[in-house]
Symmetry: D2
Subunit: 341 residues, 4 copies
């Protein structure tokens, strides 16, 4: 297993950068949920390529086609299958990387794992393009969560270490034929206390499993996270109190809304660290499989100088998927009452 | 599900801090593997409490008793069940936290999730004590990996932000009736290239799911991790080359040995961020469930001023479990040849 | 979860009888396996409707379209996604069953489970039409197994209790505006000894889980099965012996090739009992949801008088999927050697 | 994976016939459920050996020891771990079967799978003794179901094909130094309509996966089952009607309470076919691994002449586990209301 996520739901993602289509099947959705397909498409558009000089010039409409799972626009309890056609593929751009793997990409590891049978075009199944079906699934989960009053909002915290002028960092990197990494922060509001499970199915475990499914993510932390490691307990503990409505709250939120893997009713907050796009226009040292010797690689193809720009909705999608899966039955109860008898 | 880990193996952990016993069942181990129980016990001893002024004064031998799964000391293909008796329990220490949850602990969230039926003594199932059976399982996986030439080594990187005198930080925190967090680094050497799966079952996803199972972990990153987010691609990419033995290597290891979720044959490296022990001797603000009003808590019980000291073998255990599970069939082949026909 | 099968593979089936398309995603296939798409289509054709007076008059080409997972015709390690377009849908035939559930069908139970939001057209996700993507996945597994020398062959044992003239029973039932059930036998040859796992993941458990996924199956037994319940041990035990090539064999095969859930190297044999097609042209007693009173139903639509005819390849597909999943790593080794270093 | 069952719960069974202990861990139970341990023990006693001439002379108290998961007798949300000590072991009885596998047992297949490292004593992990922890888990699920008004009742339908004098068949087989098989019927009453999922997670699939986990089961059918295969649709369909309380019922129950994998509110009924106990006192043909030649086996040890007698509660346990798992969230709601805020 690999491109399958979930315990209460099963999200199965398929496709390669240059295959006929990419897509996703979501099994386990509650019946009776009206999907807003226009809103889903607008969410997809936030991730779509070809939006300006700071993103790849590959143009894809990323139009979601629903194959099954809806009657009208309402979920019917059957698996929801969505596909996105690939249109603007230029596989010839990738002829050289079949032999010379790109540093920082999965070309080499895929080559070993799949014994030379991997799809190299556009990075195949490892392409950032596979975040499109993740967004399609996540977009559905966002709508489901919204119905329960839960919102998921990601934002760029910094690019290349720069919090003041993050987009300027991208321009400078692009001008230098280089790329640059960045941090995305994410806040999930409205999750009731008591969601998540002990040990290996806590919210942190589940969100981490989802977010590391986004290519280029190399780190994640929750609440005060890595900063907490530098603190004392008296500083990092979040004191409880009753608010005026009698709800239990904490005065600070260093826990990022999660204690023992379980939500405490405060905002769930995490940061995801994205490495710089590995594809850069500069020549790089690599190897040639066929010649069995070192080689210099020049990467062609069309790439984002900073993946973080387009990654913002993807982080929201991954987080929504994880939280929805953790809620499971609690989320399923969102449907209307049984009308059978 | 919650305290169950694994896709190729099933590791099921049970117990509470003050229950009769804690333990673990490991399903799916290959038959014919000789377990070194003395070595396992020595590994357990590294985690055991009561080792000096810097750890809790609760004394537990943490003696592993094997209930099934071995014939002699050799795995027989049946699930391996191990238990550890709890002996030195003082449940009366926890009478007050039944009503007044400890900040930074799972008392409150467990109370909501389990509707007041949670076991509060010693933190119940959320206690750091549950890392003992995790170490028992992990100790077995470490031995399995060692047979394949794979080693897992964790170490303290810093305590309270201090790399030079980490243990001094613990002493100072203890003297201040406080606690302190820290960073643990971990290096897994000898994993062949090609281990791990795309998207949601990559090595990062799997290791993160395991490591966030350790109480107090709030962050994880791989290779250059959060630093990568501040870099450019030309700086962060790891150039490939052939070494003198004709193996593919990278000149740097910013990827932490993982590209596209799959091992590249270099050391796998990650850091885990531990928050400070939430239990501190100082009075803290909290609430009283019974009175429905704010309250001040004084924590009794016996606690580590810094969990990081004893967490080092636990990180090794979690990492070993994750890597072993990712290897799955490749690891199973470690047994001898079939002798049936 | 529901329409997802497998532990070593993940087979995720989607679609409704009248949705835009039906299909399947298979995650976990080994890379480097050449798929014979013509052979796959011929296998699909054995199940396809519209083949004569004994099957439904609904005509569907059941043409498999591969969306991803192949490079050329060779698996590349990415999930294999296949879709089949629905073309010949007549949803108006099903207007009445929205209110009046068909006896013997899932109309009523789907109505309760999905709270009135189920897709009723053609039975929705519960339609026998969903066996088409099961055959698409199974057809791939059959090819994988064949490469290991494993064959799966199903056949009609009896229709309506008649072994001599099974097809005559269908004609007679059709003439009577009725339907009829039957038995399908299946033999899997070439599975080496040692495949399967104890207790809940034995070959019987896995095959049963797959075969009960075929609509209308109400029973399964292995080897002498229900007959074994009437026998003595001296009669039912299969004595071992060495054959001339030194292989361990049994003189009889009452075990159906499975002992303790694990293959013994003999043919694996099982029978699946199919109930008669619930859709019959005769008026039947039912209820009206809207009126809250009893009602008489006349079923329109196009149906098979005996599902068993077209079920034969479906049983093969389900059996192949189950055996392939049980083999898992053993099957994966069918690919060529790694070429990486 | 192997001895692990469940999607909403995780039931992990461990132990061998002659290991220190056998047991089970149940993860995912709702908190706040009071377990009646006396009632659990009485349920265990129905399965316990040594009850008279018709069962094995091995005496085991089968006393359930709870290691964790309860506070007092009430579930606390942590995994429930239960062990049963093995006491009356006579491993020397099994010396010969290490070399000469018993026909009809898993000795040979375990030998191949575990490459000679299997535990042969008493059948190891394949022993019928492993149904004791299955009963311990099932006994808990029976209590959970009972709270929802659901009962599970199994009974002997026939032994050796004899419905009139089943126990006489056992006596006659024992006198002949032989064994005999039989049929167990099971009825689950009170399951509301709408439980179960389509395709591979239907009630039939789940119950079959659980029941084939009982050693010696070789067949299962639901409702009219194998008889349905001989019938016409007009005869086998169950007409719906409204009863006097306005509930939807069916006039007959050939479906065994399941349509499309989902409960219809009628009794769920199934039959399990047990083969005769493979261990018989008569000499049998087998092979010698060490000599590589055919051999004659005389089985010593203590065995039941008919496993069916003691299997009745085991079938109830397996059925309860499967239905509870299918109910999942619906069952979890049995606990009291949240008391947190």
């Amino acid at each position: 297993m690999a491109s399958v996520y979930g315990k209460n739901f099963t999200v199965s993602i398929f496709g390669q950068s240059h295959s006929a289509a990419i897509g996703v099947v979501v099994d386990g959705l509650p019946a009776g949920f009206p999907v807003d397909l226009d809103r889903l498409q607008r969410f997809m558009d936030r991730r779509a390529p070809g939006q300006g000089p700071r993103t790849t010039s590959r143009k894809e409409a990323d139009r979601v086609e629903v194959l099954s799972g809806l009657v009208g626009n309402v979920t019917c309890g059957a698996p929801l299958a969505m596909v996105i056609r690939n249109t603007n593929t230029r596989s010839q751009d990738y002829d050289n990387i079949r032999d010379v793997p790109r540093p920082g990409h999965a070309d080499f590891t895929a080559h070993v794992k799949f014994r030379g049978h991997e799809d190299v075009s556009g990075g195949g199944h490892f392409s950032g393009r596979l975040t499109a079906p993740l967004c399609a699934a996540g977009g559905i989960f966002l709508q489901l969560l919204a119905k329960k009053g839960i919102t998921v909002k990601a934002e760029i915290l910094e690019i290349g270490g720069n919090r003041e002028d993050p987009l300027g960092e991208i321009d400078r990197a692009r001008m230098d034929l280089d790329s640059v990494g960045g941090l995305v922060g994410c806040t999930i509001s409205g999750v009731p206390a008591g969601i998540g499970d002990p040990m290996f199915d806590g919210l942190e475990n589940r969100i981490a499993q989802a977010v590391f499914g986004i290519p280029a993510v190399k780190g994640i932390d929750f609440g005060s996270g890595f900063d907490a490691a530098r603190r004392r307990g008296s500083e990092n503990n979040d004191p409880f109190y009753y608010d005026e409505e009698g709800r239990v709250r904490t005065r600070t939120n260093n826990a990022g809304g999660i204690l023992g893997g379980i939500s405490d009713g405060m905002d769930i907050t995490f940061r995801a660290a994205f490495k710089p796009t590995p594809s850069i226009a500069r020549p790089q040292d690599s190897i040639s499989f066929s010649k069995g010797e070192n080689a210099v690689l020049e990467v062609h193809g069309r790439h984002d100088p900073c993946i973080v720009l387009r990654a913002v909705p993807v982080v929201e999608a991954a987080a929504a998927m994880a939280v929805a899966d953790a809620m499971g039955p609690a989320l399923l109860s969102s449907g209307g009452p049984a009308s059978a008898e």
